[in-house]
């Protein structure tokens, strides 16, 4: 079953890539032809770029408005969105003449475009790499339910503390002093930026060290503690990575409106102030 699916995936990618390269080639030849004839490629490339931006922004409408599903699946739109994004990035630099603009408005417009494009590339990277990392953690977690699961872990820890098998002072003290704060508090900003297993390893080491002070019949009680620490750390890992998966959209989506408005203003101005006849 997996074999045919992979084959279908590559066929689709090859088909899309071929179409994309074909369109890019045709567009490039068109611009080259204009340039060879002293044409103002900045106008043609600008109009095409503006059209691409509008098309890219329409993906959001497709996702929001279900009546547009006749225009293709959201997955197809996403593929189209990605390829067009790459084309827009190349066309953007052609439009600028591979030179950063010098005007205030144009610099702002270019900055917005680059922020959107950069966040798009970042999002593409995240969506292509993070799912594998999250899958490697082993359990599927919904981002919005992470607080609930975190709460459940706290309750599990509280239940362990009340369990008669763990009625040792050492374990109770560890749960109260080390485990519950770990379970209830969020992770540092540094961890959200660079998720790591440092705290997890530290706590597990501490739990392991408790065995030296526990009687042999109580040592089995450290196992659920280790499990709680691992689950909480996995949840935090999910939270950090899925937070990024959702966070880049704040830049990518929120600036789209500004980009369209500024691009429209830019189009108006260049037509009004164009130097030709």
């Amino acid at each position: 079953m997996a074999g045919p699916m992979i084959e279908q995936f590559w066929r689709r990618r090859l088909r899309h890539l071929t179409s994309f390269l074909l369109l890019v080639g045709v567009g490039g030849l068109w611009l080259y032809w204009q340039q060879q004839n002293l044409g103002r490629t900045s106008f043609s490339s600008g109009y095409v770029l503006f059209g691409i931006v509008l098309t890219l922004a329409a993906y959001r409408l497709r996702k929001r408005w279900h009546f547009l599903r006749g225009l293709g699946s959201s997955s197809a739109w996403l593929h189209f969105h990605i390829y067009l994004g790459f084309a827009a990035f190349g066309l953007f630099w052609i439009h600028l003449g591979f030179r950063w603009p010098m005007g205030t408005l144009e610099q702002f417009l270019a900055t917005v475009f680059m922020l959107i494009t950069g966040s798009g590339f970042y999002g593409l990277y995240l969506t292509r790499t993070y799912p594998k990392k999250l899958t490697a953690v082993g359990n599927e977690v919904i981002f919005e339910q992470i607080p609930i699961q975190r709460r459940q872990l706290v309750r599990r820890a509280e239940a362990l503390a009340l369990d008669s098998k763990f009625q040792t002072e050492i374990l109770i003290e560890f749960i109260d002093r080390r485990l519950l704060p770990f379970l209830t508090r969020g992770r540092s900003f540094y961890y959200l930026l660079f998720p790591n297993g440092g705290t997890r390893r530290t706590l597990l080491t501490e739990v392991e060290n408790l065995n030296r002070y526990l009687a042999s019949d109580h040592q089995a009680g450290t196992v659920p503690l280790k499990r709680l620490i691992q689950d909480k750390d996995d949840l935090d890992f999910h939270y950090a990575l899925q937070g990024r998966l959702k966070g880049w959209l704040f830049v990518h989506v929120c600036l789209t409106g500004v980009l369209i408005v500024l691009a429209g203003l830019h189009t108006l101005l260049v037509h009004v102030f164009q130097g030709g006849f």
């Binding site: 340039q35 060879q36 103002r40 205030t104 929120c254 408005v261 006849f277």
Partner: protein, 921 residues
């Protein structure tokens, strides 16, 4: 298992309650307790209120209320709802939070509002143009517009003053139908001096027809000397409306892109831009640029200098080194090799020859020797002619005299028969046509002398205008006449033609002149026999009368006439009728009209006899009117000269030579034309009378000490001189850079370049300026074509017209800084002419070619039929037909340095785009 909920039965629960506990991220609100891991099971309402204030939302059923708590929340409670339908298990309300999607949306709106807000602030602050400007201006434009404030945008963008609505309307074509002012129009408003305005927006600023001719010439396989590349016959068209087809206007902004910063050179062009139109594309200069066929392009040099002969013959003969730097200097821009002046470069060898030529003088008037008896026997009575010149036919007319005589209808006809430069020695007395022509010329000379006597410079002006069909303004007249005084001619007339005023009446002087017409009209009212001696005051009186001057005032003015007392009293002159009565209307001998001489032989003989009788009676007649008849042989003539007070009263008038300061000398490397026309004050030599002793007759012509040419310290005669030895009025030239000679050559060549050149005009130019003639000017001075298509002589060494941009450009300075190229001869290698082999250098060959047929005007004559479109780029000044003294450069010499990746080798390094004539600043 509870029964499925029916939403139509008045259930008030939120929608997600009807589903399950699954979180809906597309919902705008989430439970406020979700962040602590304990969200309610209902979630917030659609408007963001807490939707879970109780465990359930009771359902009305069967007239009462039933608990609806779902199973995953514990199922139906035992207590059940209250009587009013409320859940009995209330919960503390939460503060719902927005979902991530809702937060993104709000942030989007916030950013958009922020941008709008900032935009409004900028718009209100008046800095909008600073913000929307796509970048800083280039330095030249920035400097020019630095003080324009917010109006600086409107200096180049006509829409800058329009409103936003007009901008949007303009996009959709709702603007005014009137032809809008374009940015290109505003560009040309400032740059109109830089371009040929007519073709400013055409490719290369060249007329399409001319460009097509060049392309055709390039495509012609027979073409050997046509540079440049082929132009596309059909170019592309921008899909957005900008056309670039041949002949279509090209906006300035097509190539010159502004707002790219101060450091950007807007004039810099890429090879791709050049080759977008040129069909013959080159990858690089060193690889596939065509080999030079003739570069540096041979131009008609400002100074025709034969480098080869001087280098290989003259300088070695004088045992002097031939160094380029002796004559060539770097100018400030280093664009051309500027020449030093004549004195420094040429004077040491050529000054003497020029002075000899100048001392011979150039005749404005020179009487030929005519066999009066032979003419009379051929029924051509020319009246009184100087005895010394009446024995046989000999001599020639001076070219200027011949030129002025052509304004006289009869004399012009005679000159046409005799031909230009006719030597009277060759006159066949048996040829009636020639004898008649000689008679016409003789009478024309007399009328010319009379006209010059009466009107002086005005006569010269009018005669020149008639002959050359050119306007002669006062400044030019001043330069042409150089203080020429009627007094000098009057004295000459008195000496050479004592009976002039009996033979020639003012009516016959210049019938086509206004004076002549006026006098003719008046003379028609007189009796046929009332011919008498018309004095200058008579003419002046008639002029004043015709101009409506009152009689009293007229008499007062006539009394002030400086000529009174010379030919008669003012009173007598002012009262012609009284004078006429006193002398007797029939006793005054009248002149013999040339036209009256032409009829039958008997009549001519009778007229001739009558003329002789009248002439013999002239002294007594003149005495009767108080006029002394001058005679060449009269020893007291000069003593009665009214100018005698300025000299010693004898024929040997002399004045000490005025030695002009050296600074006033006319330097040959100065622009001769820039010098103001100044009067000449000369010294006299024995036997010659100069007008310099006469009081100024032309107050408009300034008189200043004349500078003596090279050789200061020596007495030198410069100016008008009457030579009674050969009966001529001559102008003695200053030497090199004589203004009088320059102006005469200029005016003649200007007429020549107007088209339809006459043989006599070409002859006159040749006689004046040809290398072997008196002027000797065109030996060295080449020709050039002015913007108005008139030709002129290159009087200066700056033969390159700064207003004329050609296809190629070159800057010597960066090249000569290189050690290997510091010697001019590293690039400019002379064509060697082996001595003793009879070969002539290219310059000599050019000169020989041009002097063949005494034309020497190859450049002037060939341009007459060309259109204005071709000026500046088809080689009118390119010396077509000339050979350079130097070998042409090869591409290899340039490509040794100019290679891709090392030294600039782009198209624009050596080629200009904007060519043609610019308006002189």
């Amino acid at each position: 298992m509870p029964a499925p909920h029916n939403p139509t039965d008045g259930d008030r629960r939120p929608v997600n309650v009807l589903q399950n506990n699954y979180h809906r991220p597309n919902f705008p609100w989430v439970c406020g307790n979700a962040s602590i891991g304990e969200p309610c099971w209902t979630g917030p309402t659609a408007d963001g209120a807490c939707g879970c204030r109780a465990e359930c939302y009771p359902v009305a059923r069967g007239g009462g209320w039933t608990c609806s708590r779902p199973l995953h929340r514990g199922g139906t409670c035992s207590e059940g709802p209250t009587k009013d339908g409320q859940c009995c298990h209330e919960r503390p309300p939460c503060v719902p939070q927005r979902s991530l999607r809702a937060q993104r949306q709000r942030l989007s709106y916030a950013v958009l509002c922020l941008v709008f807000g900032v935009g409004l602030i900028i718009y209100g602050s008046g800095k909008a143009y600073d913000v929307i400007a796509p970048g800083p201006l280039s330095s030249p434009h920035a400097e020019r517009l630095a003080h324009h404030g917010n109006d600086r945008c409107a200096s180049c963008h006509p829409q800058a003053h329009q409103s936003l609505g007009q901008w949007v309307g303009g996009l959709f074509g709702t603007a005014s139908n009137a032809k809008p002012v374009t940015q290109t129009d505003l560009c040309l408003k400032c740059h109109q001096r830089d371009l040929c305005h007519e073709y400013a927006l055409v490719a290369h600023n060249v007329a399409p027809s001319a460009l097509a001719e060049l392309t055709a010439a390039k495509l012609n396989p027979q073409a050997t000397n046509v540079g440049g590349a082929v132009i596309h016959q059909v170019s592309g068209q921008n899909v957005f409306g900008s056309t670039f087809r041949n002949g279509q206007p090209i906006a300035c902004a097509t190539c010159h892109r502004e707002h790219h910063g101060q450091e950007i050179d807007m004039k810099a062009m890429t090879d791709q831009q050049c080759q977008s139109c040129h069909g013959q594309n080159f990858h690089s200069f060193e690889l596939d640029h065509p080999e030079f066929k003739s570069w540096p392009r041979v131009t008609i040099q400002g100074i025709r200098f034969d480098h080869s002969t001087h280098h290989f013959k003259h300088f070695p003969h004088g045992n002097r080194p031939f160094e380029c730097a002796q004559c060539h200097r770097d100018d400030r821009q280093g664009n051309v090799q500027q020449l030093v002046g004549f004195d420094q470069a040429c004077g040491s060898c050529h000054q003497g020859k020029l002075e000899l030529s100048a001392e011979r003088g150039f005749a404005l008037l020179q009487l030929p020797s005519l066999d009066v008896e032979a003419l009379r026997s051929s029924q051509q009575d020319i009246g009184q002619w100087p005895a010394k010149l009446s024995q046989d036919f000999d001599g020639r007319l001076s070219p200027l005299c011949e030129l002025l005589l052509r304004a006289d209808r009869d004399a012009g006809a005679g000159l046409d028969v005799l031909g230009p430069g006719f030597d009277f020695l060759d006159l066949d007395s048996t040829d009636r046509a020639q004898t008649v022509a000689a008679g016409q010329v003789a009478w024309g000379i007399k009328r010319l002398v009379a006209d010059l006597t009466l009107r002086g410079n005005d006569a010269i002006r009018q005669l020149m205008q008639i002959v050359l069909e050119l306007p002669i303004d006062d400044e030019r007249l001043a330069r042409l006449s150089q203080n020429f005084s009627p007094t000098l001619v009057r004295d000459s007339a008195g000496l050479w033609f004592p009976q002039l005023w009996q033979e020639v009446t003012p009516e016959q002087v210049m019938p086509i002149s206004s004076i002549g017409v006026e006098l003719q009209a008046n003379s028609a009212m007189r009796e046929p026999d009332s011919r008498r001696l018309i004095l200058p005051n008579d003419i002046l009186a008639r002029l004043l009368q015709s101009e409506g001057v009152a009689q009293d005032e007229r008499q007062e003015m006539l009394a002030d006439n400086p000529l009174q007392g010379v030919y008669g009293s003012a009173t007598e002159s002012a009262k012609p009728n009284q004078s006429q009565q006193a002398t007797g209307p029939t006793n005054v001998p009248g002149p013999v009209s040339p036209s009256a001489m032409v009829p039958a032989t008997s009549a001519a003989t009778a007229d001739s006899q009558r003329s002789e009788k009248k002439n013999s009676d002239l002294p007594s007649q003149n005495a009767a009117i108080g006029l002394e008849t001058p005679s060449v042989d009269d020893p007291n003539l000069l003593a009665r000269n009214p100018l005698a007070g300025y000299g010693n009263g004898t024929s040997q008038l002399s004045m000490p030579a005025l030695e002009a300061p050296r600074d006033n000398r006319l330097s040959s490397n100065d622009d001769v034309a820039s010098q103001s026309a100044t009067g000449r004050q000369t010294t006299e030599t024995p036997g010659r009378m100069s007008n310099q002793n006469a009081p100024a007759q032309e107050p408009s012509v300034p008189v200043s000490p004349i500078p003596t040419p090279s050789g200061a310290g020596q007495s030198k005669v410069v100016g008008w001189i009457r030579d009674d030895g050969d009966y001529s009025l001559k102008y003695h030239l200053q030497g090199h850079a004589d203004l009088w000679m320059k102006e005469w050559i200029d005016v003649l060549i200007e007429r020549q370049s107007k088209g339809n050149p006459q043989t006599w005009l070409t002859f006159a130019i040749g006689e004046i300026a040809a290398p072997d003639k008196a002027g000797n000017c065109l030996l060295c001075h080449g020709d050039r074509v002015r913007p108005d298509l008139t030709a002129s002589v290159n009087w200066t060494s700056k033969y390159r017209d700064p207003a004329l941009k050609g296809w190629t450009k070159f800057n010597h300075r960066p090249h000569t800084l290189l050690p290997g190229l510091s010697d001019c001869r590293s690039c400019h290698q002379l064509r060697e002419t082996p001595a003793g082999q009879g070969g002539s250098s290219p310059a000599v060959a050019n000169r020989e070619t041009q002097t063949a047929g005494n034309v020497h005007l190859a450049g002037f004559s060939k341009m007459a039929g060309n259109s204005a479109d071709l000026v500046g780029f088809t080689g009118l000044n390119d010396g077509v037909g000339h050979r350079s003294d130097f070998h042409s450069l090869t591409k290899t010499q340039c490509a040794a340095c100019h290679q891709s990746g090392s030294t600039r080798s782009s198209c624009s390094t050596c080629h200009n785009y904007h060519v043609g004539q610019r308006v002189q600043k």
